[in-house]
């Protein structure tokens, strides 16, 4: 059975391996360069300074300017799990049914359930290993940028923790489910993408900021500067609080030129400034919560796929 899995998936495996090899080499070269710049710019001395006029700010800017293109490129990694789901997951059952080879393979001495479980176990195992290995590399690669900007930026968050692995497994599981459901590779690929986006985007946009209650700090309106916050903190809301405790990010009325900022805020009924954030030390908790969510969806998809293969096919 292991032989069959290897024989059937070696082409996809080779494609993925080449893609990964190219990515790895690229990450190694650029990662070394970044680590080097990080050291030369003495950025490690800057990490606890938050004052805006610190000389660090300029050096961080240099680093960012130099590597922003590269760092932004991490976004290109996000469709990689989908590629896996579409290339390996979706055809797993669908292609067999399309080419009618399920009639051949399910009438050998090995039972259909054993065929499926061995396939699932091997493919999930390989994906776990490979995405884990890539994760180790990505984590190292992202670390200079993560130290400067915090790990909660989505391009860093999504690619430097177990969420990355879970997301690969989710795409694979959804692909297998979609293939078993539609029995057509093409429709299964579309369904895989749709399901993956439908799960990931809401989790990332709506759920992630609220995995734990955000910390809110307030400061008086006559104080211009907010209290110092660590680089690692994930700020996602800030604005004004009125007497009733309502939060808003905009002022109801504009300010005229004669007013000072404080007067203007008072005129708008603002009692205090506030900022909401997730402290940087919650990074791993958040990673594991989100990993749990994706694993939950993956397990559901796999159970559904097993049920479909067992009961519904034909």
């Amino acid at each position: 059975m292991t032989w069959l899995v290897w024989r059937q998936h070696r082409a996809e495996g080779l494609i993925l391996l080449v893609v990964l090899a190219v990515i790895s080499v690229f990450l190694l070269i650029t990662g070394l360069e970044m680590a080097n710049s990080f050291q030369q710019l003495r950025l490690s001395n800057c990490l606890n300074l938050v004052s805006r006029d610190s000389p660090c700010q300029g050096r961080m800017q240099v680093f960012d300017n130099q590597y922003s293109f590269l760092l932004g490129g991490t976004t290109l990694l996000l469709p990689l799990p989908l590629l896996l789901g579409a290339l390996v997951g979706a055809p797993l059952v669908a292609r067999e049914v399309e080419q009618r080879t399920h009639l051949l393979i399910w009438t050998q001495s090995i039972t259909r359930m054993r065929w499926l479980t061995v396939k699932l176990a091997l493919l999930l195992g390989v994906v776990l290993l490979v995405s884990g290995a890539l994760l180790a590399l990505l984590y190292w690669w992202q670390s200079p940028s993560a130290q400067i900007h915090g790990s909660f930026i989505s391009r860093i968050y999504d690619t430097s923790g177990p969420v990355w692995v879970a997301s690969a497994l989710l795409a694979l599981a959804l692909g297998i489910f979609a293939g078993a459901l539609t029995r057509r590779t093409a429709s299964a690929i579309f369904l895989t993408i749709a399901l993956f986006v439908a799960i990931r985007v809401p989790v990332e946009v709506l759920w992630r900021p609220n995995f734990e209650t955000p910390v809110t700090i307030t400061w008086p309106i006559d104080q211009q500067e907010p209290p110092a916050l660590s680089n690692q903190a994930w700020r996602f809301a800030s604005g004004y609080i009125d007497a009733q405790g309502n939060r808003s990010s905009d002022l109801r009325e504009g300010c005229t030129g004669e007013m000072t900022t404080t007067q203007c805020l008072q005129a708008n009924g603002v009692q205090a400034n506030y900022i909401s954030y997730q402290p940087g030390d919650r990074f791993w908790t958040f990673q594991w919560i989100e990993t749990g969510i994706y694993m939950g969806f993956s397990v559901l998809a796999l159970f559904a796929a097993v049920w479909l293969v067992r009961r519904r096919l034909n």
Partner: protein, 305 residues
Amino acid sequence: MSNALETNKLSKRYGRTWALQDCTLNLPAGRVAALVGPNGAGKTTLLHLSVGLLEPTAGSVQVFGLSPTTQPGEALPRLGFVAQDTPLYKGFRVDELLTLGRKLNPGFDDALARARMHNLNIPLDRRAGKLSGGQQAQLALALALAKRPDLLLLDEPLASLDPLARREFLRQLLDAVTETGLTVLLSSHIIGDLERVCDYLIILSASHVQLAGDMQEIARTHKRLIGPRQDEAAIASVHTVIEASHTERQTTLLVRTNGPLFDPSWEAQEVSLEDIVLAYLSQQASERLQTPPSAREQNGIEVLK
């Protein structure tokens, strides 16, 4: 004698359509049976139910006393199956498909499969998709036979073959049967080629089994009666009229005899198997058979409605 395949009121429904209904059937071990019926009669459904690819909607199916769906681990090694149009992994080389057979079947006879490929001049390093239709069918047959099954089920194995490949395929099949004594059930929408190969006949039409029994017995008990024009009621009280046609002066009946024929006004003729099959299939289209209850299960032939 023990049965290789037993079905009891086996039924399969897709949505609202019954693909197979109340199919009760015993296939004795050691037989080479032809499963004949028009397209869409439920032949494929019956075969797929027998190898556990489908689950029955109602009724049961057993191979050597084992359920292919609830006991697949025990049943599958005893079954060989070649699906319609012999699906194979087209990208696999012939020897890779043999490896597949070896890896997935504990009792796989690799030497046998290789010998067959050699005898048929099928190169081991050729991709399955590059083989001719006949060669693909032979390869699929070799894979199924090398599994050393006790029951081999073939779904329309001849449909896509030219007459020469057909003959060769059947010859290979018969060789295997004589060597190992395995039971074979093969489906076809025509009886022609199967007459020489099979010794058991199952007629399936409109999702029902019309007739099942020993081929010779069927040939012996079915007669064409020709006589002066008359109503067939008298005959029908003793024998089973499958088909009746009348001209101005003459009546021709195809009957299954349930005993000796006494009426001298009828001239009895032998009927070819093909005509018997056709009679059953066209009879199904017109009306339901009126069989005297006592005539059921006579002569070792089961009539099922």
